[in-house]
């Protein structure tokens, strides 16, 4: 029997959320033969100490991966595509000040 093909070797990626509204963050993975035990084991590995509010358990084969450097790390300078050059701090403060003045007027 090819070990890689036995169902017990199915890998499930586990994402966890610490509190409602937080982003789901990749925690790690578990091996399990089916969805039901994958959930149980995810609960044990990533939730038994009350550290998680919610878990997502995803079969690894359902993940579509992209790691092609031609697509993700193209060789030309792309710094103009970053938002770093555009400072919105002062605009935000001005907008907040306007909003509070409007609030006082009403």
């Amino acid at each position: 029997v090819n070990e890689a093909e036995t169902p017990r070797d199915r890998v499930w990626e586990v994402f966890r959320q610490e509190s409602e509204g937080d982003p789901m963050i990749h925690g790690g993975n578990v091996r399990a033969p089916d969805e039901e035990l994958a959930l149980h084991y995810a609960r044990e590995f990533y939730g038994r100490r009350q550290e998680s509010h919610r878990l997502w358990v995803v079969p690894r084969e359902a993940i579509v991966e992209l790691d092609d450097p031609d697509l993700l790390q193209p060789p030309f300078d792309r710094s103009f595509k970053r938002p770093g050059g555009y400072i919105i701090k002062h605009k935000l403060e001005a907008a907040k000040a306007r909003a509070s003045q409007d609030g006082d007027a009403s």
Partner: protein, 258 residues
């Protein structure tokens, strides 16, 4: 009902009930902690160890309640008795054996315990009702886990199903012992500490297990089996060995504070 208002006979009956609840969880927790390191797969190893820890935690809560009632020390009750003084059901006299045996025992026990806790959640004695409600929430996961394993072994067929059936055959009579009538049961029922007779809880349990086994095409040994009178006092050499293991550290330094 406050424990200070309890009549002496009721108080004694409550102590007996608490000891049976605690010893069931304590002994089963120790047997199944033996899977640590050797469970069928790494993930199950962690799950089984964690579930066993849950049971030891529940035992501790019951022992503490009992110690408060009898002015005793919970560690003394847990570790300071001779094997004959333990009051766990005969179901917990058996060693760990193989994985199918463990699954069969856990399945039978978890459902018995869940129904017993559901009854105790309605206890007139508030500390018992509160603890039972907390434990019942934690048992939800245990039920899901052993329901899943019972189904896996039953549906796998072949050796897995055969071992499961052999285990159920060996355990069925002793599983009834979880519901062995207590010496003080009349006082517990009269005071409302125990809201339903253990025989009535057992009838619910038999109905539930019968339906689950039928759905999986598993034969049930004997639905009419009754708990034997010594279901909570009969001890075995296997338990004697386990007792020597779990009291080893406490015996090594009797005067130590842990």
């Amino acid at each position: 009902v406050s424990e200070y208002e309890l009549a002496p006979a009721t108080r004694e009956a409550l102590a007996e009930l608490l000891l049976t609840l605690a010893d069931d969880e304590f002994v089963l927790g120790f047997w199944d902690s033996e899977w640590t390191g050797i469970a069928p797969m790494l993930e199950e190893d962690v799950a089984m160890s964690s579930i066993s820890q849950d049971e030891i935690g529940h035992a501790r809560a019951w022992y503490e309640l009992l110690a408060g009632l009898t002015d005793d020390d919970p560690d003394r009750i847990a570790f300071g008795r001779e094997p004959d003084a333990y009051r766990h059901a005969a179901l917990m006299n058996h060693p760990r054996t193989d994985w199918a045996f463990t699954v069969a025992r856990r399945y039978l026990y978890e459902h018995a315990d869940a129904l017993r806790l559901e009854a105790l959640m309605r206890s007139s004695h508030a500390p018992v009702a509160e603890l039972a409600a907390k434990m019942r929430r934690e048992e939800t996961y245990h039920l899901l886990h052993f329901d899943a394993w019972l189904r896996r072994l039953a549906e796998a067929g072949g050796e897995a199903r055969e071992r499961l059936l052999a285990a159920v055959d060996r355990l069925w009579a002793d599983a009834q012992a979880v519901f062995t009538p207590l010496a003080g049961e009349a006082a517990l029922l009269e005071s409302g500490i125990l809201p339903a007779p253990l025989s009535a809880i057992r009838a619910e349990w038999v109905e539930r297990v019968t339906a689950a086994f039928a759905a999986l095409g598993l034969p049930l040994p004997d639905a009419a089996a009754e708990p034997s009178g010594d279901g909570r006092s009969r001890r075995t050499d296997d338990f004697g060995w386990l007792h020597s293991q779990f009291t080893m550290v406490a015996r090594s330094e009797a005067a130590a504070t842990w």
